[in-house]
């Protein structure tokens, strides 16, 4: 199983591609197999991002090679197919995702300062 190269910094992988951000984010909720990832992404993008197998596994391969996700040995309760490969977020992957989100947040802040979008006071 590929591991992140020793001493690799999450910043080396930034910026992530939009699909990669989505995949990693979906995995924070639990382990998923490929089709499950697709459905999660479909739901969270209100039907706008519809991944097909090739596109999905291409990014899974990249993320796996970078050490951000790995095959999971566990099966979530009620898993629909035992034989399928489920993916889990690695600790390194979580750091990469956090770094990307921090990067995006600073962009959003900038946009708010420049009044491109209204600041969100939640």
């Amino acid at each position: 199983m590929p591991h992140p190269p020793a001493g690799a910094s999450p910043d080396d992988l930034l910026p992530l591609r939009p699909v990669e951000v989505l995949i990693l984010t979906m995995l924070t909720a639990g382990d998923r197999h490929g089709y499950g990832l697709r459905q999660d992404i479909l739901d969270h993008s209100h039907g706008r991002t519809e991944l097909e197998a090739g596109n999905l596994y291409r990014h899974v391969r990249r993320l796996e090679a970078a050490g951000c996700l790995a095959e999971s040995d566990r099966r979530p309760p009620g898993a629909d197919d035992e034989r399928r490969i489920y993916y889990r977020l690695t600790p390194f992957g979580r750091r990469v995702l956090a770094a990307e989100m921090t990067r995006l947040r600073s962009l959003v802040r900038l946009a708010e300062e420049r009044r491109i979008i209204a600041p969100n006071r939640a």
Binding site: Y35, E52, A53, Y57, R58, V60, R61
Partner: protein
């Protein structure tokens, strides 16, 4: 369990990925595919869309993966050099080999270009019409409401009270809007007066559809309230055409039908809702007028003139939506049994049709048939190319054998041969796309705006990606069999037999014959389809439309209500216009009618027949309505079976009179003369004074219902089509007709002039398009298949030169030899025809809906096409057969087969 066909195809598709990627993810991707297929459902449209997406996805990402692989190899430089070098070497070898055989290369390229080009052209149409998203973000959730009942009659015209019921009671929808057409004249902006197509819409319509103006603002909720500023949104097309794309268009005021309105926005290009006919909303919009419809709130549920659209809540299923509609329908049935109850209409309820089905549902079957046909043409072309490659392979067998003997490895050999076929198919694909770029404008011209959304056809990136995918697939398809066959060359056989001429193995000969038989089968399928459509079209041409279109010219006019505000003014205008038109030199008679036959408009309603009792549950008498002026039947050449035409004495104050057609007469007054009998369309009894011939008002394919004509003077309408008849060329009188209208009222738009002959052609334009397209494909298929058969028969004869030589040397007669060759070709043809016949019969369900006047299993068509193919097969075999008889035994026995 054996996987399904789709899964096997997908598994094959996965072969285009790099080996490492494939080994790692294949099983996962197949599982993914199975879930995807299960979720997409079995509807053919959904299947088609799924496969279009899958193919694009596989080829797009496989290319990217190969690219990524190459890049990573680039870093590992030693290995890179070797791989790149082999690839480069293979390419060079392939191109050099192809250039050395220019005739072969040209034939293959031409064949592939034809197949791929036709496929790309039809795919570009299918993509534009069926696959490309509608220009509305929420299109997939939009539905149109229809009234339906168990008698099968459906209509989507709805009354305002029904609209408010739907708007206030539906729960599974988050927006319900009304829309109605209102053609209006625009003037006072410096240009010619012009009749434009406008729609009065609920202000939230574009928010619901998901489209925002490109300039200015959209409608707000308070637009269209009484007292608010009168505003309109205009279409991009109108902005460009009428206002020269004026950048200062916003807040400009225009006179629309006598009212001053302010332009507040321009919609983006491509948005002209309803862009294609949606139910009874026919014309694409030039502009939109906001209204909240409150002023139309009333109790008159019979006054149905608006269309209602709605948006399903996100995530709401179709079932839930229909359940919701059924709930409202049930309440209405209970509240108004006299209007919706079982006693009046059996099984009345509201149903919904998705916007996409509404817009393109009617052309889907024809496009599927065309797409299937073009796919078969491509397959036939592939078979020809594969056969050519097999032949070339046989010639090169010794060359290959020598290389194998010298230690070339087989995978390398297969790869090189595949490189060659891929180079060919990519070059052929490029030529094909060029052909398609010439063909698509021709297609558009041929269609003349008949197929909805077809004007958006273009060689878009999706079409290019599809063509690339098809080309690569073609390369694999035509290359795999010959490549495997060649690499399996038996060394001893090839080298040993070489001195005596390499002859094809028995298995390979059988493969080749099977391929040609398959070709014959596919050609039969296309030819039968084309034959059936051709016979339908001929049957349509033979239909008597009930009128004589020759020499008739028409102009549609719509008098603005602001100036023509009384029945008297309207009647007086049309009376005078008809009289003036009749005075134009060359005009033999003139009159007016609405709706114009074949003009695309309809009007029908229920009537009450005097003395006839309608039992509960039975349909009420129903008829098509028209309003006509005196002289109409004479002008259009419609025969009068009994009674009289309308005359100048049928004025407003005279007793109400009507003319019916023979169909209505037979239905409600069978066996008696209807003259003098009475019926009721509105409040008063109308007396029948004449019986006319029946007219196919909606085109030859539809006989239509019985018809009623009423005189304009008694049933005044501001929109009429003025018609004239001349013994000369009606088109030549267009200028004079226009001038006559302008002389009476210079503010009337006069653009809608058309000859009746043109309308007749337009009424069958869609059938003409189908038959022409399928006819062309059938000819190409026939040509390719006969060339294929000829090629294979020649080849078989050449291969068996020695055998034939021996036969002749042993006393065989030339006639016997000829018969033997022809018999062999007949075996191939007949087995192909039998298979093709079986396939055609099983596909007959698909074309049934496109036929008119013939059945999908029409025996004459099948027999004729089979005979034609047999004849073509015999001709294709005759040349090689004759050559076989001229074989000189001495030469044959000595020949080394080259």
């Amino acid at each position: 369990m054996k996987p399904r066909l789709g899964e096997r195809v997908y598994r094959l598709l996965l072969l285009v990925y790099p080996g490492q990627f494939r080994r790692r993810y294949r099983e996962e991707m197949l599982a993914f595919y199975r879930d995807r297929r299960a979720a997409a459902g079995t509807a053919p449209a959904a299947r088609l869309r799924l496969w279009a997406r899958l193919i694009t996805d596989v080829f797009g990402t496989a290319a990217a993966e190969h690219g990524a692989g190459l890049r990573s190899r680039f870093r590992r430089s030693i290995r890179r050099e070797r791989t790149m070098e082999t690839l480069w070497q293979d390419l060079r070898l392939a191109i050099r080999g192809l250039l050395r055989a220019p005739v072969y290369t040209t034939i293959v390229l031409f064949t592939l270009a034809l197949g791929i080009g036709a496929t790309a052209a039809i795919f570009s149409v299918v993509h534009a019409v069926l696959l490309k998203p509608l220009p509305y973000r929420h299109a997939d959730r939009i539905v149109v409401f229809w009234h339906s009942n168990s008698s099968g009659r459906t209509y989507n015209a709805t009354s305002p009270p029904e609209y408010f019921d739907l708007k206030e009671q539906l729960r599974a929808f988050d927006a319900v809007v009304a829309i109605r057409g209102q053609s209006s004249t625009i003037l006072g902006d410096g240009g010619e007066p012009e009749r434009l197509s406008a729609y009065v819409v609920a202000p939230e319509i574009f928010d619901m559809l998901g489209a925002a103006p490109a300039q200015g603002r959209g409608f707000r909720a308070d637009d269209g309230l009484p007292g608010a500023e009168k505003v309109i949104l205009i279409s991009d097309a109108l902005w460009r055409r009428r206002f020269g794309a004026d950048p200062a268009i916003l807040s400009r005021k225009v006179n629309i039908g006598g009212f001053i309105r302010t332009i507040i926005g321009v919609m983006p290009p491509g948005v002209s809702f309803p862009d294609v006919p949606v139910g009874f909303l026919r014309d694409r919009a030039d502009f939109w007028i906001p209204s909240n419809y409150e002023s139309l709130r009333s109790d008159s549920r019979g006054n149905q003139f608006i269309a209602v659209l709605a948006r399903q809540k996100p995530g709401a299923s179709e079932l839930a939506a229909q359940a919701d509609l059924d709930l409202v329908s049930g309440r209405l049935r209970a509240a108004f049994p006299g209007r919706y109850g079982e006693e009046t209409v059996k099984g009345w309820r509201f149903t919904s049709v998705s916007l996409r089905d509404q817009m393109v549902g009617s052309v889907r079957p024809a496009l599927y048939v065309l797409a299937g046909a073009v796919g078969l043409v491509l397959l036939i072309a592939c078979v020809n190319v594969a056969n050519l490659m097999l032949a070339r392979g046989a010639l090169r067998q010794r060359d290959v054998a020598v290389r194998l003997a010298l230690g070339a490895d087989r995978p390398r050999l297969v790869r090189q041969l595949l490189t060659e076929s891929t180079v060919l198919s990519l070059a052929g694909g490029t030529l094909g796309v060029l052909l398609a770029s010439i063909g698509v404008p021709l297609l558009l011209r041929l269609d003349r705006g008949n197929i909805p959304r077809m004007d958006g056809t273009e060689l878009s990136s999706a079409v290019l990606a599809f063509s690339l995918g098809v080309s690569l697939l073609t390369g694999l398809l035509v290359g795999v069999a010959p490549a495997l066959a060649q690499s399996r060359t038996d060394l001893r056989g090839a080298l040993g037999e070489g001195a005596r001429g390499a002859s094809d193995g028995r298995g390979r000969r059988r493969l080749r014959s099977a391929l040609v038989a398959a070709q014959m089968a596919m050609a039969l399928v296309i030819l039968v389809g084309a034959g059936l459509l051709g016979r339908s079209f001929a049957a349509l041409q033979r239909v008597e439309p009930g009128l004589d279109p020759g020499g008739v010219l028409s102009i549609k006019l719509s008098l603005p209500r602001a100036r023509y505000d009384s029945s008297f003014k309207i009647t007086a205008f049309f009376d005078r216009l008809a009289a003036e038109v009749a005075r134009i030199p060359g005009v033999t008679s003139a009159s007016a009618i609405n709706p114009l036959p074949l003009g695309g408009e309809g009007w029908s309603g229920s009537i009450e027949v005097e003395g006839m009792v309608v039992r509960p549950g039975e349909p009420e008498p129903h008829a098509e309505y028209s309003v006509a002026m005196p002289g109409y039947f004479r002008t259009l050449g419609i025969p009068l079976r009994a009674g009289r035409e309308f005359s100048a004495t049928d004025v407003a104050k005279a007793p109400l009179v009507g003319i019916i057609d023979e169909r209505l007469a037979q239905k409600y007054w069978p066996g008696e003369s209807p003259i003098g009998k009475r019926f009721k369309g509105g409040d008063d009894w109308t007396t029948i004074v004449g019986v006319a011939g029946h007219v196919h008002r909606a085109g030859p394919a539809e006989a239509g219902e019985g018809q009623i004509y009423m005189p304009l003077a008694q049933y005044t309408q501001s929109a009429m089509a003025v018609v004239l008849h001349t013994d000369g060329d009606p088109g030549a009188l267009a200028g004079a007709l226009r001038g006559t209208v302008r002389a009476l009222d210079a503010d009337l738009p006069t653009s809608q002039i058309v000859t009746m002959d043109d309308l007749v052609v337009r009424a069958t334009a869609r059938q003409r398009f189908n038959v022409l397209m399928l006819g062309v494909f059938a000819l190409v298929a026939l040509g390719l298949a006969s060339v294929g058969l000829y090629g294979v028969m020649s080849f078989l004869v050449t291969q068996r030169t020695r055998e034939i030589g021996i036969r002749i040397a042993l006393g065989g007669k030339p006639g016997d030899v000829r018969r033997m060759v022809i018999r062999e070709s007949l075996v191939i043809s007949v087995s192909g025809l039998l298979a093709g016949g079986a396939i055609s019969l099983s596909l007959s369900r698909v074309v049934r809906g496109l036929l008119f006047g013939v059945t999908a299993t029409d025996p004459p068509t099948y027999l004729f096409i089979s005979a034609l193919l047999l004849l073509v097969g015999a001709i294709a075999a005759y040349g090689p057969a004759r050559r076989a008889t001229r074989v000189d035994p001495l030469v044959a026995l000595r020949s080394d087969g080259q």
